[in-house]
């Protein structure tokens, strides 16, 4: 009788240890999974931020169009381009409206969150009002691109 009791006791102890071990391992796995997903989001955002050269933009004075090419790896969304005359920044500040996207199937819809700005796609943006066209002519156009994941200064070069 005593032998049976000892066996049952031993079984309970083993069961308790196994349950404790399982609970600990389960918590560890969930913790690792949470951290991994959080890190993945951050890393993904950094990849999205790899524009490499967003500054392949040109300021075409004759057409009044600013061309912006996206060379990032991951798609960007809700892209806006803001420009100003560096000699008179607040009063000449404006957000450039899009004219066309880089392909026939993608036109003027980059502010729609469902349409990503993809690698090697070119945006053609209307120039700001006349005062910014003048700034463009004198190479004094300051522009920033602002997306969901990244904001960056554009290097604006005048087309000769």
């Amino acid at each position: 009788m005593r032998g049976i009791s000892n066996v049952i006791t031993a079984l309970f102890v083993v069961a308790a240890i196994l349950i404790a071990a399982y609970a600990t391992m389960s918590a560890y796995v969930r913790h690792t999974s949470d951290l991994a997903s959080a890190v993945k989001r951050v890393v993904s955002r950094q990849i999205r931020a790899t524009y490499v050269s967003y500054g392949t933009s040109e300021c075409n004075t004759s057409a009044g169009v600013l061309k912006v090419t996206y060379t990032g790896i991951e798609p960007e969304y809700l892209v806006r381009v803001v420009c100003y005359d560096v000699a008179d920044p607040p009063s000449t500040f404006c957000v450039l409206p899009y004219i066309t996207g880089g392909t026939n199937s993608m036109s003027a819809q980059y502010l729609d969150s469902s349409v990503p700005f993809l690698r090697d796609v070119e945006l053609n943006l209307m120039a700001c009002p006349a005062d910014l066209n003048a700034a463009c002519a004198t190479d004094k156009l300051g522009c920033y691109v602002i997306g969901t994941y990244k904001a960056q200064k554009l290097s604006v070069e005048k087309v000769s």
Binding site: A23, P90, K150
Partner: protein, 144 residues
């Protein structure tokens, strides 16, 4: 049997406690990762004869609530609340006057732009973004 029951209770309680603590840590870490702004400033070593812009961009995944932006000039600790513009995710622009701070929120993807006064060098200017459970500061010319 009583000893076994006691051991079982202790083991269960302690693992639950550990699990709870781990989850709290993970949630706090995740919150820190989710709330984020990028502060773009002009380069420090230049001779500027015009105002230069500062961009505050919410590149995180949650809104920064009750957000205030201030800057200080080198050698003068008096904080200055700038006037500027808020650009929302649809491309709308809203003027922000120095008396409008704090803003209700700066949502993911939204940006604030304001201009520092013309200076021979922007080295030493400090820009600070303060929100609910959030603060980030950069000093131009000093690595973050």
């Amino acid at each position: 049997m009583a000893i076994v029951a006691l051991f079982y209770t202790w083991a269960t309680a302690s693992t639950t406690q550990v699990s709870s603590a781990i989850y709290t840590d993970a949630a706090a870490a995740e919150q820190r990762i989710l709330a984020s702004v990028a502060i773009l400033t002009p380069p420090p070593i230049n001779i500027w004869d015009s105002n230069q812009p500062v961009i505050i961009h919410n590149n995180g995944s949650v809104p920064i609530v009750n957000v205030r932006v201030i800057y200080t000039k080198p050698g003068d600790p008096t904080p200055i609340a700038p006037s500027g513009k808020l650009i929302d995710v649809d491309g709308n622009v809203f003027d922000i006057n120095s008396t409008d701070w704090p803003l209700e929120a700066l949502s993911p993807g939204e940006a604030i732009i304001f201009w520092l006064p013309a200076d021979s060098s922007y080295s030493g200017y400090t820009i600070t973004v303060i929100g609910l459970k959030f603060e980030k500061s950069v000093t131009i010319g000093v690595a973050e």
